[in-house]
Structures are given as structure tokens and as C-alpha cells.
């Protein structure tokens, strides 16, 4: 009985998987944020992430049930070369910095660039990023929210959230925004995939019909 109900559900709305990558310097709280969001737990005993791990969480965005696959990565930039395998197919990239550590803010640019290079999304300028300023529960602050917002504005209006993984502050909201952005990204690319072959985007002069003709 359940199976039938389930199958009906399957038919009506396809399950969506959103792949989200969390990037940022080491010990800005990537693992903590992920765990706070998925498991609603915080401990200060997380170890430095080696390699990559991910957690999944099911949530409802705009009446759609989606599974968010959140990838946690190693923070040291030397391990970035590993990223390629993990970045591929990402729907949204979460950049995290520590509001008490200016250096973590400074490296945001390089994280963003590196991601765009390695993941090579279809439309780099429109690829959704979300910026999280973590550890707002700590003093003293080194990066004001104004400054972070300015950075976001300069990068095509990236949404910015100030979070505390320790206290669970703003985490839920941030990830909801991440999910929405990821979903929007996926919808746009899926449409693109469905309707046009790849090359049309590049050469506007070529007619779509001609493009598809070539394929056959």
C-alpha cells in the first residue's frame, strides 16, 4: 500500500538532489555549520577535516521536497587540488569565514575563484554563492558586517548571513537560502539541458534547428 502511494508520489514529483559545497579557510567552522544544520548538534571536538565528507538533509523548499547533499571540505588551501572531484556538479557554493579572523575573510576571493575554476559551472557569473560569517558569538569582531556585505555586493550580490554554529544562530535560515539558490540554479540548468544542446549558447548565430541537426 505504502509502496503504491510512494510510487505515485515519485511519479508526481521527482526527487531533487542539491549538491552544496562548503568552502573556507581551516577552522572557520565548516564542519560545525554542517553538523549544526543537519544534526542540530555542536561540539568543540570536531577534528580537522581530511579529505571530504558530506551529510544529507531533506527539506521542503517551495513545496518541493529536496535532498540537500552538503559537502564539507578540508580547509587548508593545499588540499584544494582534491576539490575537482567534489566540486563537480555543485548547485551552490557556500563560502565561510570567521568574523574574528581577518585572514579568513581575505582568502574568500581565492576560494571563490578556485571554485569557479575547478567546478567550471556553465555560467560562472551567475553561479550561486552564499557567504556565511561564522562565529558571531565570539569577540572581538574583526570583520564588520558592512564590510562583508560590501564584498558580497561586489560579487554580484551574494547573499550574506552571519551565523553561529555554536549557538545555532541563523544557521537554519542560511541553509534555507542556500537550498533556494541551489534549486534555482538547478532549475535553470536543467531547463537549459533539456531544451538546447550545448553549443547554441556559445554561438548565437547558429540556429537551434541546425544544431540539433548536426547531432543526428
Amino acid at each position: 500500500m505504502h509502496a503504491i502511494t510512494y510510487l505515485r508520489n515519485m511519479a508526481s514529483r521527482k526527487k531533487t538532489l542539491l549538491k552544496v559545497i562548503i568552502l573556507g579557510d581551516s577552522s572557520v567552522g565548516k564542519t560545525s555549520l554542517m553538523n549544526q544544520y543537519v544534526n542540530r548538534k555542536f561540539t568543540n571536538q570536531y577534528k580537522a577535516t581530511i579529505g571530504a565528507d558530506f551529510l544529507t538533509k531533506e527539506l521542503t523548499v517551495d513545496d518541493r521536497t529536496v535532498t540537500m547533499q552538503i559537502w564539507d571540505t578540508a580547509g587548508q588551501e593545499r588540499f584544494q587540488s582534491l576539490g575537482v572531484a567534489f566540486y563537480r556538479g555543485a548547485d551552490c557554493c557556500v563560502l565561510v569565514f570567521d568574523v574574528t579572523a581577518p585572514n579568513t575573510f581575505k582568502s574568500l576571493d581565492s576560494w571563490r575563484d578556485e571554485f569557479l575554476i575547478q567546478a567550471s559551472p556553465r555560467e560562472p557569473e551567475n553561479f550561486p554563492f552564499v557567504l556565511l560569517g561564522n562565529k558571531v558569538d565570539l569577540e572581538p569582531r574583526a570583520i564588520s558586517s558592512k564590510r562583508a556585505q560590501q564584498w558580497c555586493q561586489s560579487k554580484n550580490n551574494i547573499p550574506y548571513f552571519e551565523t553561529s554554529a555554536k549557538e545555532g544562530l541563523n544557521v537554519e535560515q542560511a541553509f534555507m537560502a542556500i537550498a533556494k539558490n541551489a534549486l534555482a540554479q538547478q532549475n535553470s540548468t536543467v531547463d537549459l539541458y533539456n531544451e538546447f544542446p550545448d553549443q547554441i549558447k556559445l554561438t548565437n548565430t547558429q540556429k537551434p534547428s541546425g544544431g540539433s541537426g548536426c547531432c543526428q
Binding site: 581530511i50 535532498t67 574583526a142 560590501q150
Partner: protein
């Protein structure tokens, strides 16, 4: 009181949240899975509410922390509770019973699988919050809680949540909703979509593969992992058939059965289903007294490579695993599994009212339980299937089907009825003798004698696949890729002729005697088999040579074997045998024993240095003591070097911070005054750019940012403004004094310190900027500690000389125990000093000094300060100018002046190390102590100082930690870590080893586990093998608990000498193999595997994994050896 209320509020809020979650889940999915995480957390929240204020003592419940006892208590009064209580007890009993039966029973008919320690220990047998769970599923939870609330005074304190008139009611009413939901255990598609946790996967696997025995298939007991692939190439057919045929008969009988029973009573790749009928009843002969009448079940006849098998499975087992609460193990005892070649006679009893009974009698004369067929000719169908299945080499005597022509009965009506069964067995009710019971006995005749057995097996195999010959041919073509195309076409041709012959036999060869037909078929098949075997063999040989060339480097050529005693490894007793008078000469024995059995924990401290190469075998105690002393001395010297640098780095950090504060307090005026102070004119733009891009580009990048937003972001700006200014000054000096510096460098190298030249130079350390200088610095550092007195003599600065020595004495008093204390004091002192700097800077009128100090002189100031006695620091630091003049001598610091680059590099590393040390295994007892964390930090910093080119990389702390725990002493740990890193450093991002590992893993899996390899090929990502990344980077340190890490590491180290330089590969393979069935049955892709293994971290059974790894090494060794 308020606190109490808050707490209750929180508890209720938690329940609310979880109820909401569950309700949401039920809405979005239309049902809630029983094992859903939200159910568990809801139960947890309810449990928390119920536990709060429970009068445990009064109720006699203090023994347990759960509320299960409370349930049993109220069961007397509440019928709902009684029901749940009963079920809980049942479940608990079943669970216990299950475990007992699985370990004790060893019936042959029941697929026997060894209990797998790792898996059974991993799985909590019963879910958490069992009773709450059950009550929820039974929809009784709200009622039970209602009862508790209304009788709260009996069970709860007055201020308990349940006793609270408001909260209590809220609690019970909250749960009404969840109690109205339907919960399911169904393994729906949905479950597969939502990434089930590793636990669930392991549990599912346990259920499906061994609902029988309660354990997973132990890899060692499973089929030989290497065989399928080779066999496959040998005759290109389904590997399952072959794996069973190549195993010894009895083991083949036992293995693989579990899966047969659970999933493959149907047609599958390994067996052809010849007959299947449900509701065939059997009176189990070994049934206990509670089975009074024959049980219905599913009878099936399978044809496998090694013959026919009759299976009968009770219906209880056929209905899947929906109802897991019921103990099924007993039914497995009833299930039948009969190999037809063990059967000599088939007795048939045909009765008119019931369908018929077949009794199989074995070679030993023992009767198998009678099989009762329902009405409708099923018995006849069964017998005819047996007869068909026995062909070509075996037959029933007398034949079931008599030839019409020779039978002399009624003439057949059509061709189909040309042959008919013995009249007595015909289901034809028109037969005159229907009323009487007729018995028949058939003898199963096996024409092949036993020497002919293998051939027969192959015949059967081929025959089984003849029907789908197209498929077989495709397989052949694909598996023997190495053989050239002509071979392939030849074999296909062969097959064509074979099948043609077969067709001929079937259709046209009516008149020829059956034996002749069979012979013809056999002949053609024989040819076909021989040719196929030849090409298979050819492919196999080529495959082997590929294996040899690719993988021969992975294992040592000579095979070292173990005896039973070795499995205990190096015990105290054995060590005393090996270690004669403190000299260990028989290193081979030490390696061998370690490899096969590990080292007793108490001996690790002593033996690990040998294994890592720190101690040489054959050294005396005396020599080792000297080595230890040397090591310690060297370590301490190195440490003193970087401690000095650390102090500078810290000072700089503090100053940066302090300046920011100072600027803040003096406002924007301060910054202008500082700008006024910079006497040199602004440098040409191009120069500045060049310089900045080289040295402090981070600062500059930011400063651009800053300048743009200066007005709005003054606060942030000020933090960064300082380094920018410093850069400018440095640039000027650097550019202007370029040639001069060159000269100075040479002079310095020559050992003459050109103090005079530096005197006019504001930034003395600028001279050290070039790479050459950096080297000079380092070499100076290296020599200096060894030859302290001499090198210091080179510097004609007595004061410095004194302070250096003084300093060293202070930091490293000979006494070992108070040394750490001293060290702490030292660090502490520096920090205190910094605090005073903050104060002086914050004074407000110091902006000038701050500005000048920031000009670069501050670095020297610190260097100087570091060497002078610490208590004078405050004075020295109060003013920047004296400090600057004092450090005009570049040689004033211990081992030389440090370049800006060096300071920055080390500073960066230092911060990273600190971050990671702080979070290294804090849950392990050893690292709960600050003191031990400091040791870890020191070792790490020393290593990075000595290997600045490598630098700190995440993961290094994890490698130091186990060593430190064993040695609990820094210098030995450091020395051993250096040895360890010789191998490990190549795994880190700049090395090539990781890619090699991945490539090797790929080859090994291809050879040792074809099925897995195929799965991996399906998901292209697999080639990356990233799930192994952490394994190799840290030698499985994160995958195992500490005790297991120790055991694993020493085996890895010993394995280099005994079996394989790359033993880690085999451990990785062993891990994969341990869970291969789970991975395969769930069709896991790259991400699933990563998640699975991340979740399984620290939950593996290292003993069995290591054992398997050793077996895998041996397999590969044998394979390579076997030409």
C-alpha cells in the same frame, strides 16, 4: 524555580519540535519510516521529559537510567502499558535468544555463517528508546503518558514536568498526533533514495545475508576473492557458477547458500531454475516437537554447475523480512537443501486424494523428509524436471518417459504426446487404477564415474548456458579481450556448430537412440570446451603477466609464513627471547612477529623506534641511550631556534593588534602623524608594485580594498594600514640598498659581522631578504647549536654571547622534568611582555613610537628582547628606538637574524599548527590535558621548522598523536615522526604517492574483485578512489580507534620488511572487501561509499581487517609466484 521552569520549557519545546518534524515527514512522504531519524529524536525528547523528576529511588528504578522500568511498573495498572511492556520483554528475549542460537547451532541444512565480530558489535541489537518507539508504533504512547500524567503524584516529584498540570497535559496531547500516524518498516524505494546511514546498511546486510546466523559473511570465509576473475577468464561464464565449482565441494555447499536462500530461489546467473512450486508441504524431520504437521513451503529445483539441487524453503522465510520481530532462525533449521548427486533413490507415492509424495533416499540410505505435492500433476512435473536435469550423463532408472513406439500402448494422438510417462504416474484420472495407491522407486544413475567428475561439471555448465548461447558468446568475447579476434571468431564458430548439433538432436534426432544423441552433443561440446578452455587459459596467462608486471612491485617476492604461535605477536616473553642483553639482532624475527601478531602494548614504547628506524638493530642499550641523549639535545636546540622565532611572530601579532588599538584610541590623527614620520619619499609606483607582488601581496590586496572604502570602513582600515606602510619603507630600503646588501651578505657568510654597515640601516633585517641569505640563516641555525661556543665567537658581541647562553640555559635546564614547566614560563613571559606593550601603546602619546616600531625595527627589537633576560623586556619595549639601535647587529639573535619571509612562513605555519593541535583528538584521554597538547604542538613546530619547505599540512598532527601517546616524550616522538614522514610526506598534496595508491587500488580491485571493479566502472567517478584518501594520508588513523591504530601502524611498518612495501593498499582492500556485499548490494556510487566509510570510521574490526589484508598479500604473492 525559574531555572526549573526554563528547563521544562525547553523539554516541551524539544518534543514540540520533534513532533512537528515527524508530522511534516508524514505529510511529505505520506508515511513515516520506523527507523527514521525523526522518530528516534522524538522518542529521545519524550524520554527526556519522562526522566525529568522521576522518583527513581522511591520506585526502585535507580538501577537504570532509562524509563523502561517505569513502563513495567505501570503495566500493572494501565492495560496499554501492559501491552507494550509485554512486547518489550518479548523483543528483548528474542534478541537474547537469537544471539545464543546463532552462535551455538550448527545444523548443516542451515546456512552456517560465522559470526562477524565487527559487525555484530557495531550494531545495537535493539533500537534506542525501545518502549517509547513501540508505544508510538502501536499508537499507545499518548494513552500511556496520559496515565502517567494523571497518576503523576505516584511516580514523579512534585516539580516534575509530568506532574505539572500544564506541561503534563501538553505533553500527552502533543503525542496524540504522532500516535495517529502509520509507521512502516518497509524497505521502500524511498529509503534507497535518502542515503541510509551506514548503520542501517550494515544492519540490513546482516538481516538479508544472515537473517540466518546473525552475522555478516566473514570475508575470509567467503569465496576466494581472487578466483572469480581468473575462472571467468578461463571459461567465460557466469562467475558464480565457477566460483562454486572451483571451491571445494563442501565449502561450496556451505558458502553462497545464504544468498541462495534469501534472494536466489529464482532464476539467476548462478543457477537455472528448473522447477518451482509453492505450497509444497514437508514434515521437517529435525523439527522440534512444536511442529506437529507438515509445513507449506516453496520447492525448487536448481541446476548449477555442480549438479542439481532441490531446495525447500518454509513459507515463513519466503515472505521476506517484513516482520522482523518474529524469530525466524528456527525455520532455517527446517529448510531443505538436497544435492541430487547425494541421492540414490527417489520413492514416489501417488495418492488420489493428495497430490503425491516424494521421498529422497541418499547414498547412506537415509531418507530425506517426505515432500508432499498438492494435487494437479506437480509431482510428475517435478520428476520430469529431475530427469531432464540429470541429462546427459545421468538418468532415472526406470526412465520416467517411456518411448511410445516401444511401449506398445495406444498410438499417440500427436507429436507432442509421442512420449508419455509411465502409465502409473500419469495424472490421467481415466486410468483404471486411480483408487489404489501406487508407489514407484526410481534409481538415479550417474553414468559418469568420479574421475570424470570435473568434465561433467563443465559439460553441465556449458549445457546450462547453451540455451543462452548468444549471451555466453558475448561474454566470451568480452572477457578474452587479450586474445586476438581470430580466436574469438573461431570459438564462436565452434559454438555455432555445437548449438546446431544440439538443435539437431532435439528436433530431428528422434529416431536415433538417445545415448547416441547425447554422445554427439557431448563430443561437440567437448571440442568447444577445449577450445574455450584454451583461449581462456591464454587470456589467463596474459592477464597474469599483466598482473605480474603491474603489481609485482607491490609485494615482496619471498613469502614469509607464520605459525600459530606468531599470531600472538611480540609478547613480553617473546621479546625477552629476542632481546638478548639489550641487543636485538634478529630483526627479521621482530618484523615477522610484528607483522603477524603485533606488539604487546607495554612493549611498543621500546620496539616502535626499531620499526621506524630510529634505533638500529644490534645496538646496545648504551648506544641507544647515547642516541636518545643526542636526539634530545638536537631536539632541544632546534626547539630553542623556533621558540625564538615564535616569540617574534607572537610579538608581531600582538603589535599589529596593539597598533590597531592605539590607532583607534588616537583617532585618524594618529595615522597622519605616522605618515608624516615616514621620511623617505614615496617610491616609484612600479617599484612598489613589483615589490608588493613578491612579498606582501596579501596585505596589498587588502589595502587596495581598504583605500577604496577608507571613509566608511575606518575601523577595519586601521588594522591593515600598518603593514602597508611598513611595506613601503621596506621597499625603499630594499631597492636602494641592493648592491650594498649583496656585499654584506658575502661578508656575513665569511663570518665577519659588518656591524658598521648595518648601523646606518634602519631595517637591519632587510639585508637578509634574498634567498641566499635565507640559506645562510638556516645554515647558521643548523651549525650553531652543535657548536655553540665556536659560532658565537664569530660574533664579536660579548653581550649577545652572554645572553644567548643565558637564554638557552633558562629554556633548557638539564633537568628534564621541570623543562616543560620552564618552557611554559617562557612562553608565558613573552605573552606578559606583550601585554605591557599593549599598555604602553595604549597610553595615547606613543603614536610616534608605534609608527617607528612598525617600520620594521620592531622585529629586531623582539629578537633582541628574546635574547636579553626576559624581565627586562618591558623596559626594552617601552621605547622603540633603543631596541632598534641594539639590534643593529644582525647576528645578535640566536643563530642569526630572520628574514621577513622566514618569519611570515613560520608564522603562518604556527597559526595553522595551533588551530589543528587544539582540535586533535580532544576526545581521547591523552589530549584532554593541556600539557600533552603542548607536547604535540612542540613536536609539530619542530618538524615544520626543520622542514619549512614542506610546511605544516593538515593531517600531520594526526600522525604525530599516536606516536606521542606511546612515547609520551617529545624528542623520541619527533625523531620517529621524522622517520614516519619519510614515507608519508609523499602522500600529502605535493607528493605523487596518493595518485599511485589510487592507481594501484584500481589494479588490485580489478584483479582481486571483479564484481566490485565492475560496479566501480559503472560510476566513472570511482577511478578517483577518493574514499581512500584519508585512509592513505593518515595510515588509517582516523578510521580506527587508538588501540587499533597502534596495532595497524606497527603491522604496516613491519610489513615493509616482511611482505609488502605498500601494505596500506591491502588494508584498504581488506576494508573494501569487508563491506563488499553491502557496497555491491546497495549499488553504492562514489559518494555513497565516501559517506559509508566516513560513518563507519572508528568502528571497524581491525583484527579481522588486518588478517584479511595479510591474506590478500599472500594471495597476490602466490599469484605472482605461480608462473
Amino acid at each position: 524555580m525559574a531555572h526549573e521552569k526554563d528547563f521544562k520549557e525547553k523539554l516541551i519545546a524539544a518534543v514540540k519540535k520533534e513532533v512537528k518534524q515527524v508530522m511534516e515527514e508524514s505529510v511529505t512522504r505520506k508515511f513515516v519510516h520506523e527507523e527514521s531519524g525523526s522518530v528516534t529524536s522524538l522518542c529521545g525528547a519524550v524520554e527526556a521529559c519522562l526522566s525529568q523528576g522521576l522518583r527513581r529511588r522511591a520506585l526502585g528504578l535507580f538501577k537504570t537510567s532509562s524509563t523502561t522500568a517505569l513502563l513495567h511498573k505501570i503495566a500493572k495498572h494501565s492495560p496499554e502499558a501492559a501491552r507494550i511492556s509485554k512486547r518489550v520483554q518479548e523483543l528483548e528475549n528474542v534478541d537474547n535468544g537469537n544471539r545464543r542460537s546463532s552462535s551455538s547451532s550448527d545444523s548443516l541444512t542451515k546456512p552456517q555463517l560465522k559470526k562477524h565480530a565487527s559487525l555484530s558489535s557495531v550494531i545495537a541489537p535493539l533500537p534506542k528508546y525501545l518502549w517509547i518507539r513501540l508505544a508510538l508504533f502501536e499508537k499507545q504512547l499518548a494513552k500511556i503518558i496520559d496515565y502517567l500524567v494523571s497518576n503523576a503524584n505516584r511516580y514523579y516529584e512534585k516539580d516534575a514536568l509530568v506532574a505539572d498540570p500544564d506541561y503534563g497535559t501538553i505533553l500527552s496531547s502533543l503525542l496524540v498526533g504522532p500516535c495517529a500516524l502509520d509507521y512502516t518498516r518497509m524497505r521502500s524505494l524511498d529509503n534507497f533514495c535518502t542515503d541510509p546511514p551506514a548503520d542501517e546498511l550494515v544492519q540490513r546486510h546482516r538481516i538479508s545475508s544472515a537473517g540466518v546466523g546473525g552475522g555478516s559473511t566473514p570475508p575470509s570465509n567467503r569465496r576466494h576473492p581472487m578466483q572469480p576473475n581468473f575462472r571467468r577468464s578461463l571459461n567465460a561464464s557466469s562467475e558464480d557458477t565457477l566460483s562454486s565449482s572451483c571451491c571445494s565441494r563442501s565449502s561450496a555447499h556451505q558458502l553462497g547458500i545464504a544468498r541462495d536462500y534469501v534472494e536466489s530461489l529464482h532464476q539467476n546467473s548462478r543457477a537455472t531454475l528448473l522447477f518451482g512450486k509453492n505450497n509444497v508441504t514437508v514434515m521437517p524431520s529435525n523439527a522440534s516437537s512444536n511442529v506437529q504437521e507438515p509445513m507449506p513451503g516453496y520447492l525448487s529445483l536448481h541446476q548449477t554447475a555442480h549438479g542439481l539441487t532441490i531446495k525447500w524453503t518454509p513459507n515463513q522465510l519466503m515472505n521476506g523480512f517484513v516482520d522482523e520481530t518474529q524469530d525466524k532462525s528456527v525455520y532455517w533449521d527446517y529448510a531443505l537443501h538436497v544435492r541430487l548427486d547425494e541421492i540414490v533413490y527417489v520413492h514416489c507415492h501417488q495418492e488420489s486424494d493428495t497430490g503425491g509424495t516424494v521421498i529422497l533416499v541418499g547414498q547412506d540410505g537415509v531418507q530425506r523428509p517426505p515432500i508432499h505435492f498438492p494435487k494437479g500433476g506437480h509431482m510428475l512435473a517435478f520428476l520430469s524436471c529431475i530427469e531432464t536435469g540429470l541429462l546427459p550423463r545421468g538418468r532415472l532408472d526406470p526412465p520416467l518417459w517411456s518411448q511410445r513406439s516401444s511401449g506398445g500402448g495406444a498410438v499417440g494422438k500427436n507429436n507432442n504426446k509421442r512420449r508419455r510417462p509411465l502409465p502409473a504416474l500419469a495424472p490421467d484420472t481415466t486410468d483404471t487404477n486411480t483408487e489404489t495407491t501406487r508407489d514407484y522407486v526410481f534409481r538415479i544413475i550417474d553414468n559418469s564415474d568420479h574421475t570424470d567428475m570435473p568434465k561433467r561439471t563443465e559439460l553441465m555448465d556449458t549445457r546450462a548456458h547453451l540455451g543462452g548461447s548468444l549471451k555466453t558468446r558475448v561474454q566470451l568475447a568480452s572477457t578474452s579481450t587479450s586474445s586476438d579476434s581470430s580466436c574469438k571468431s573461431f570459438s564462436i564458430e565452434q559454438q555455432h556448430s555445437a548449438s546446431a548439433t544440439a538443435d539437431e538432436v532435439c528436433s530431428g534426432g528422434v529416431g536415433t537412440p538417445p545415448v547416441a544423441c547425447i554422445r554427439a552433443v557431448c563430443d561437440s561440446m567437448k571440442r568447444q570446451i577445449i577450445s574455450r578452455a584454451f583461449y581462456g587459459w591464454l587470456a589467463y596467462c596474459r592477464h597474469l603477466s599483466t598482473v605480474r608486471t603491474h603489481l609485482s612491485g607491490l609485494v615482496n617476492a619471498n613469502i614469509v609464513l607464520s605459525d600459530e604461535r606468531d599470531e600472538q605477536g611480540i609478547t613480553e616473553e617473546r621479546w625477552s627471547e629476542v632481546c638478548v642483553d639489550g641487543v636485538v639482532s634478529d630483526y627479521a624475527e621482530v618484523y615477522r612477529l610484528t607483522y603477524f601478531g603485533g606488539i604487546a602494548h607495554s612493549l611498543r614504547k621500546e620496539i616502535w623506534p626499531y620499526l621506524l628506524g630510529h634505533y638500529k638493530f644490534g645496538t646496545t642499550q648504551q648506544q641507544r641511550n647515547e642516541l636518545a641523549e643526542e636526539t634530545k639535545q638536537a631536539y632541544e636546540n632546534t626547539m630553542s631556534e623556533w621558540l625564538a622565532v615564535e616569540a617574534i611572530v607572537r610579538q608581531r601579532d600582538k603589535e599589529n593588534q596593539a597598533q590597531a588599538h592605539a590607532k583607534l584610541s588616537t583617532g585618524s590623527a594618529a595615522s597622519t602623524s605616522v605618515n608624516d614620520n615616514t621620511t623617505p619619499p614615496p617610491p616609484p609606483h612600479s617599484q612598489q608594485e613589483h615589490h608588493l607582488s613578491n612579498e606582501v601581496f596579501e596585505d596589498e590586496l587588502l589595502s587596495d580594498d581598504e583605500h577604496e572604502s577608507m571613509d566608511e570602513e575606518e575601523e577595519a582600515c586601521l588594522t591593515e594600514a600598518q603593514p602597508v606602510k611598513k611595506t613601503r619603507r621596506n621597499t625603499i630600503k630594499y631597492e636602494s640598498g641592493d648592491d650594498e646588501n649583496e656585499d654584506e651578505n658575502e661578508a656575513t657568510v665569511a663570518g665577519v659581522t659588518p656591524i658598521g654597515k648595518y648601523d646606518h640601516d634602519d631595517d637591519g633585517e632587510e639585508a637578509q631578504r634574498s634567498p641566499d641569505n635565507r640559506e645562510f640563516c638556516c645554515s647558521n641555525i643548523e651549525h650553531e647549536p652543535v657548536n655553540n661556543g665556536e659560532s658565537i665567537c664569530d660574533y664579536d658581541n660579548d653581550l649577545v654571547n652572554d645572553t644567548v647562553e643565558q637564554n638557552q640555559e633558562q629554556i633548557f635546564p638539564p633537568d628534564d622534568t621541570c623543562y616543560t614547566e620552564e618552557m611554559k614560563d617562557f612562553i608565558h613571559n613573552v605573552i606578559v611582555t606583550n601585554a605591557s606593550v599593549d599598555m604602553s601603546n595604549l597610553g595615547g602619546d606613543e603614536s610616534r613610537n608605534v609608527g617607528r616600531a612598525s617600520g620594521g625595527g620592531n622585529l629586531d627589537a623582539v629578537t633582541e628582547e628574546n635574547n636579553s633576560s626576559l624581565d627586562t623586556c618591558i623596559e626594552t619595549h617601552g621605547l622603540a628606538s633603543p631596541a632598534r639601535s641594539a639590534c643593529a647587529s644582525p647576528a645578535s639573535s640566536n643563530g642569526g637574524v630572520y628574514t621577513q619571509e622566514l618569519l611570515e612562513t613560520f608564522g603562518l605555519n604556527l597559526h595553522r599548527i595551533e588551530k589543528d593541535v587544539q582540535r586533535c583528538d580532544r576526545n581521547y584521554w591523552y589530549f584532554t590535558e593541556k600539557e600533552n597538547l603542548d607536547k604535540l604542538r612542540n613536536v609539530m613546530c619542530t618538524y615544520v621548522w626543520e622542514h619549512l619547505d614542506i610546511g605544516y599540512m593538515q593531517g600531520m598532527c594526526d600522525l604525530v598523536a599516536p606516536l606521542l601517546v606511546i612515547f609520551n616524550e617529545e624528542s623520541v616522538t619527533y625523531a620517529c615522526f621524522c622517520h614516519l614522514m619519510e614515507r608519508m610526506v609523499e602522500n600529502f598534496p605535493n607528493g605523487q604517492q596518493m595518485d599511485c595508491h589510487f592507481a594501484n587500488m584500481r589494479s588490485l580491485i580489478q584483479i582481486l574483485d571483479a564484481e566490485m571493479y565492475e560496479l566501480m566502472h559503472q560510476h566513472g567517478d570511482y577511478t578517483h578512489f577518493y574514499f581512500c584518501y584519508r585512509w592513505f594520508l593518515l595510515d588509517f588513523k582516523r578510521e580506527l580507534v587508538y588501540a587499533d591504530v597502534n596495532a595497524t601502524w606497527e603491522v604496516i611498518w613491519a610489513a615493509q620488511q616482511v611482505a609488502s612495501q605498500h601494505f596500506v593498499l591491502f588494508i584498504a582492500l581488506a576494508l573494501l572487501e569487508t563491506y563488499r556485499d553491502i557496497i555491491l548490494s546497495n549499488g553504492m556510487d562514489f559518494t555513497d561509499i565516501i559517506k559509508f566509510f566516513n560513518e563507519m570510521a572508528e568502528r571497524h574490526d581491525s583484527k579481522s581487517v588486518l588478517r584479511l589484508a595479510r591474506e590478500l598479500v599472500l594471495q597476490l604473492q602466490l599469484l605472482i609466484e605461480n608462473k
